[in-house]
Symmetry: C2
Subunit: 282 residues, 2 copies
DNA sequence: AAATCAAATCCATATTGTGGACCTTTCCCT
DNA sequence: AGGGAAAGGTCCACAATATGGATTTGATTT
């Protein structure tokens, strides 16, 4: 297919189903506007696809039930099928459900906004945002938003929790995107922040992404030693000065401890094989 | 594309992205084996696709993160991206989360297995299965399983809760599939069962799908008057005789009442439009 | 009523997905 | 161990299918 405009040097991973990549990119794009909805024109702009292509993909995804279009506003939203798929996937990755009570407690105790972020390949994805009672709230990070690992407190906490060589490799692989779209985050800065986060035991973002929007984050480790995600709290600058920052970190660490305890079985592989033998026969 | 084998007379809905349809069908197929995993050969058999095609789609979906393949067993499972999408969709269709406590209570009180089913176009999809303590358990209905509306107690409850003309239309539209794949469910039987369910106030399935696996179901109505889904309980025949059946129906109705009360805002359209104006501008 | 913007549609073109045939690995039975 | 079967994975010529510039339709604003 004729590549539209941007799109870097060449797709890394071996050739596959390109139209599928496009379609799923559109699906993710709509997902990242979850709750708000997104217009065709915005999809065109953000995906770099042409209008007919974007439109066709949106329509096809809608027909399959993965998207739903509001007839009045013409905005595209995630559809019921996406919900079904995700619900079933939740049986395997039930991390969010476990974390929701923690987020609620964090938001209540801190009065600021608490976030759950998970790693998804090279990026951190915000899965949930729980608002506190404090009247000044930032809308810098929404559910569905993705940034390269290290950009933002939760995302940075995850990066810092990974083995050194893996973290370094990820920074490397993200360098192109960082350079292109995150001028405030050169790889060198990320390395420094990761270093600091490891020493301090928590990630700290002093308004690096948006001036005035500060945040702290702590990683959640699974019982297999892998990083599952991170909890973070964002607030305005003067609510994240040293004393309060220490307090918020303590809150986060308490919740992380609770989460670590009630970590669910990670779907043991041997078990699955045995089940499969029995069940996939029909 | 060359149509493989089966596939009826002609696809009804207007031409779109066929390969996408196939890919999403594969995704749904894997989802329907959530937890268990599915093998390439089974995907080939159940989807009617050829092996290279199925394999390519599975690989592409895996690369995009929507599927994950267990390296040891080669079984395909839903991937983290599916979880992300579904989690975000959950903000719009948060029905399942609300229903989980009810299912837990139903399973505990009845000692049998409780299910949550929702409508998805022409089908009922089992979203969750909560097992009770009774030692004889049927595995007739798993999370992710789909059947035409009316097949199974939960599915039948949903069908019976719809307006008469709509229900009739759905039976009509399902008649082909019923005839081909559900020999025990001729449309005429469905109409009769729907009639009974409306009179009785609950759906009853006396082992129609699998002999010995009986079930009762009650629909959950949203506050907009639309049917949101259904709760159901399945048990072996002698645990669904008249007296106990009445008891179980009462349990179901209690939980349905609780669910109806704490129904969430159905994302009012006007509100969404207003938000969109503000938020999709950037 | 005119103008502006966005959404939806058309259609010739060649890029892309397709599947029969083939190879490789794993598992099981003797 | 050895041999056979079944499943997973790959190749490549072919044409069916997605593509996007241009156009039409529809809605909203001035």
């Amino acid at each position: 297919m004729r590549r539209a405009k941007e799109a870097g040097p060449a797709r890394q991973e071996g050739g596959g189903t390109q139209s599928l990549q496009r379609a799923l990119a559109v699906l993710r794009l709509v997902a990242s506007h979850s709750g708000r909805g997104i217009r065709l024109a915005d999809v065109v702009e953000r995906s770099g696809l042409t209008k007919p292509t974007a439109h066709r993909l949106l329509q096809a995804l809608e027909q399959e039930g993965f998207l739903a279009q509001d007839v009045a506003s013409r905005l595209y939203h995630l559809g019921p099928e996406a919900y079904v798929i995700g619900t079933l996937a939740g049986d395997r990755y039930g991390f969010r459900r476990a974390a929701l009570p923690s987020l609620a407690r964090l938001a209540a105790a801190s009065e600021d906004t608490a976030f759950l972020t998970i790693r998804r390949d090279l990026h951190g994805v915000c899965l949930h945002r729980e608002e506190g009672s404090f009247p000044i709230r930032s809308y810098v990070l929404q559910a569905g938003d993705r940034h390269p690992l290290g950009v933002g407190a939760g995302s940075l906490a995850i990066l810092a929790a990974l083995p050194c060589d893996e973290a370094e490799e990820l920074i490397e692989r993200n360098s192109e995107e960082l350079q292109a779209r995150y001028p405030g985050f050169p790889p060198s800065l990320l390395r420094q922040r990761v270093e600091e986060a490891r020493i301090e035991g928590h990630a700290f973002n002093p308004g690096q992404l948006y001036a005035g929007s500060w945040a702290v984050g702590v990683a959640v480790m699974g019982r297999n030693g892998q990083c599952e995600g991170a909890l973070s709290i964002a607030a305005i600058e003067n609510r994240l000065q040293p004393d309060r920052r220490t307090y918020l970190v303590r809150l986060l660490q308490q919740e992380v401890a609770k989460l670590t305890e009630l970590q669910e079985r990670p779907a043991g592989a041997t078990n699955i094989v045995a089940q499969a033998r029995r069940l996939t026969a029909n």
